[in-house]
Amino acid sequence: VTWDLFFLSVATALSGGTAVLIAATGELLVEKVGIYNIGIEGAMVLGALAAFVGVVETGQLTVGLLAGIAAGAATSLVFGLAVAVLRADMIVAGLAITFIGLGVSSQLGQDYARLRAPATLPDWDIPVLSKIPHIGEALFQHNVLVYVAFLLPFGVYFLLNHSSHGLGIRAIGENPAAADALGIGVTRWRVFYVAVGGAFAGLGGAFLTLGTIDTWLPGITNGQGWIALAIVIFAGWRPLSLIVGAYLFGALGTLGNVAQALGWSVPSEFFSALPYIGTLGVLTLLAWARVKRPGWAAWPAALGQLYARER
C-alpha cells in the first residue's frame, strides 16, 4: 500500500508543479532581460479564465489554450509597455496588474464558475515507458502539458546559453547600455519577452482550469504566480533548476493526501499551508547559502533597472 501511495503522490506532485513550472519559466525569461514582473499572478488567473471560457464557448481545446496564452500575453503586454517604454515603477505596475487580473477574472468569470469543461487536456501515455509497472504510472501517464512543461526549461536553457539571440537577451539583462551599443533593441526585446512571459503564465493558468480540476473558480491560482516568482529566485536564475523548485512545490502540495491516507492526526490546514511555508523556508536557506558563498547564483546585474537611451 505504501509504495502505491508513493507512486501516486509522485504523479500528483508532477501535475501539481506543472502550472508553476510553466509560469516560472516565463518569468525567468522576463527577468533575464532585466524586468521584474510581479504581475504574473494576474496574467495567470486571466489566462485560466480565458482558456476555460474558450473551451466552454467553442468546445475546442486548441481555442481554449490559445485564448489562455493570448490573455496572459495581453495582460503582461500592458505591464511591459508601462514599464519598458514609459518607465513606470515596476512594483507598482506589477501590483496593479495583479489586482486587475484578479478583479476582472472574478467579475467576468461569474457565470462560468463550477461549470464542467466540455474538453480537457487529454492524457497521453508515452509508448513503452508507460508500461513499466509503477514508474510508468507515476511518470509517463500524464496529460500533454505536463511533458511540455518539463521540456520548456530545457528549451529556454538552449535559447539562453547556446544561441546568439540568447547572448543578446542576457546582455540586455546584464548591461542594457552595452547591449544597446551593440545594436540590440533593448526596449523592443524587453517588451517582447514580458509578453512572452505573460503567454507562459497564461498557459500555466490554462493548465489549472483544463488540466487539473476541469472547471473555473475565482482566484483559482491561489498565489501560484507568486510562488513562481519565488521559484525563479530559488533556481538562482538557472532554467534547469526551475524544474527542481517547481516539483518540490508540487510535492509539498501532495503531503496532505499522504497524511490522510496514512491517517496522521495533523490538521489538514497545516498541509494546505505547507507549500507556502516550504517556499519561505527554501528561500531563506538559499539566501543564507548565498551569504556564505557570495557570487553564487547571481541575478542579472540590471534586474529591476529601467533603461532609456540617453540622447
Binding site: 478583479g103 467579475q107 528561500l283 533597472q305
Partner: protein, 394 residues
C-alpha cells in the same frame, strides 16, 4: 554613461555638424525629464477621478440597472444617508490601519503586502483573549485585545523583517506568502476549536462575548464605531511623529541618501526593522478593529482583502499618513458601493479591478510628473536625470 557635462558637450561638438550660420536658432517646445516626479498628489487625484469615471461608464455593462439607477443606489449606500456614511466609515476603519501598515515601511522603500495576514493573526490573538478571559469587563478586555492584536501583527512581520535585514530576502514575496499561511491558520481555528456549532457551512467562530464588542459613538444621526477615531488618531500621530521626532528625521535622511545617513551614524537596518514592525502592528490592529467593530466573530469575512487594498491606499497617498485617511475613506466608499451592487451582478472582487486600474494610472502619473514642458533653443538637447527606480534587494 555618466560623463561630465563638459565632456559631453565637447563630444557633441565633434560629432554633430554645427548649425548653419544663416538659419536662426529656433525656439521649440520640448519635454524635459527630471530625476524626481513633481505634482505627484495631483496626478494621483486625477488617477482616482479617472478610475471613478471608468466605473460609472463600465458599471452599467455588468449590472442590470441603468447608470442613473446605479448612481442613485450607490449614493444612497455611501454618502447619501447618515446610515451610509456610518457604513463607509466603519469599512474605512481597518482600511486606514492597513494603509498605515503599508505606508510606514514604505517611508524607507520597504513593501508590506502582508497586512491581510497581519490582520488575521492580530485578530486571532484578540479573539483568543476575548474567548479565554471573557470574565473581564469591557473596559479592560478591549484594550487588552487591541494590545494583543498590535503585538500579533508585529510578530507576523518579524520573520520577513529579519529575513530582509539579515539575509536580504525580498520582503514582497515573504510578506505575501505569509498571507496564505495566515488564511489556513484562520480556517483551522474558526472551523475547528472555536467553531460556531450553529453554523453548518462557512468558516465562522462563535460570537465574541458582548464585552468584546467595540461600541459605537453617536454624533447627531451618525453612528460610528470608536475604532474609526482611533485609526484617524494613529494616522495623525504617526504623521506628526515622522515630521517632528528624531526617528522621523533619520528616516527621511536615510531615504534621501543611505550613504550619507550611514556616515552620520544612523543605523539603517535597525530603522528598517522598526518601521516594518510598526507597519505590522498597524496591520494587526486593523484585524482587531474589524473583528470588534463590525464582524464580532473570528471568521473568513474578516480580512476581505483589506490588506491588499491598504497597499493601494498607501501608494496613492504618496507616503503621507494624513492622505492615507482620506484615500481610505474614498476607497471604502468604492467597496461599500460595490458590495451594494452584489445582488445586481457585481462580483465580490470586482472592486479590485478598479483599484488596480487606479494604481496603474497612478504609476503612469508618476511618469508624467517627471516630465516638464520647456521651451528651448534648437541647440539644446534634453537630458535624462539619474534613475532611482531599482529593486533594492532580492
Amino acid at each position: 554613461l555618466n560623463r561630465p557635462a563638459d565632456d559631453e558637450a565637447a563630444t557633441r561638438a565633434l560629432v554633430e555638424p554645427s548649425p548653419r550660420r544663416h538659419r536662426p536658432r529656433q525656439l521649440r517646445w520640448g519635454l524635459e525629464r527630471n530625476a524626481t516626479a513633481e505634482h505627484v498628489m495631483w496626478y494621483r487625484l486625477v488617477a482616482i477621478c479617472i478610475g471613478l469615471a471608468l466605473a460609472l461608464v463600465l458599471g452599467p455593462l455588468f449590472v442590470d440597472q441603468t447608470s442613473g439607477e446605479i448612481r442613485e443606489h450607490v449614493w444612497q449606500q455611501t454618502f447619501g444617508t447618515s446610515l451610509g456614511i456610518g457604513n463607509v466609515l466603519s469599512v474605512a476603519t481597518p482600511l486606514i490601519l492597513t494603509g498605515l501598515a503599508a505606508c510606514v515601511p514604505y517611508r524607507l522603500g520597504v513593501w508590506n503586502i502582508g497586512a491581510d495576514g497581519q490582520m488575521l493573526v492580530g485578530a486571532w490573538l484578540a479573539a483568543a483573549i476575548a474567548f479565554e478571559m471573557s470574565d473581564l469587563s469591557g473596559t479592560l478586555l478591549i484594550p487588552l485585545m487591541l494590545a494583543a492584536s498590535f503585538i500579533g501583527g508585529a510578530l507576523w512581520i518579524l520573520g520577513p523583517a529579519l529575513a530582509r535585514m539579515l539575509l536580504g530576502i525580498n520582503e514582497i514575496i515573504t510578506t505575501l506568502m505569509l498571507n496564505f499561511v495566515a488564511i489556513y491558520w484562520l480556517i483551522y481555528w474558526a472551523a475547528g476549536p472555536w467553531r460556531d456549532p450553529l453554523v453548518v457551512a462557512g468558516v465562522r467562530s462563535r460570537s465574541l462575548p458582548e464585552d468584546a464588542e467595540i461600541s459605537e459613538v453617536t454624533i447627531g444621526s451618525l453612528q460610528v464605531q470608536w475604532g474609526f477615531f482611533l485609526a484617524v488618531g494613529l494616522a495623525f500621530a504617526l504623521w506628526l511623529f515622522f515630521r517632528h521626532a528624531k526617528l522621523g528625521y533619520e528616516v527621511s535622511m536615510l531615504r534621501e541618501s543611505e550613504r550619507v545617513a550611514r556616515y552620520a551614524g544612523i543605523p539603517a537596518r535597525k530603522r528598517m526593522l522598526q518601521l516594518m514592525l510598526i507597519g505590522g502592528a498597524m496591520g494587526g490592529l486593523a484585524g482587531a478593529v474589524a473583528m470588534g467593530g463590525t464582524i464580532h466573530r473570528y471568521s473568513d469575512a474578516l480580512s476581505n482583502n483589506t490588506g491588499y487594498a491598504g497597499v493601494v491606499v498607501a501608494i496613492l497617498a504618496a507616503g503621507s499618513e494624513l492622505a492615507v485617511v482620506l484615500t481610505a475613506i474614498v476607497f471604502a466608499a468604492l467597496i461599500v458601493g460595490g458590495d451594494g451592487l452584489r445582488t445586481a451582478g457585481i462580483s465580490a472582487d470586482a472592486v479590485f479591478a478598479l483599484l488596480g486600474v487606479i494604481l496603474l494610472l497612478a504609476a503612469l502619473g508618476d511618469v508624467l510628473g517627471r516630465y516638464r514642458l520647456v521651451r528651448r533653443t534648437s541647440g539644446q538637447t534634453p537630458q535624462d536625470g539619474p534613475e532611482s527606480n531599482q529593486v533594492a534587494a532580492k
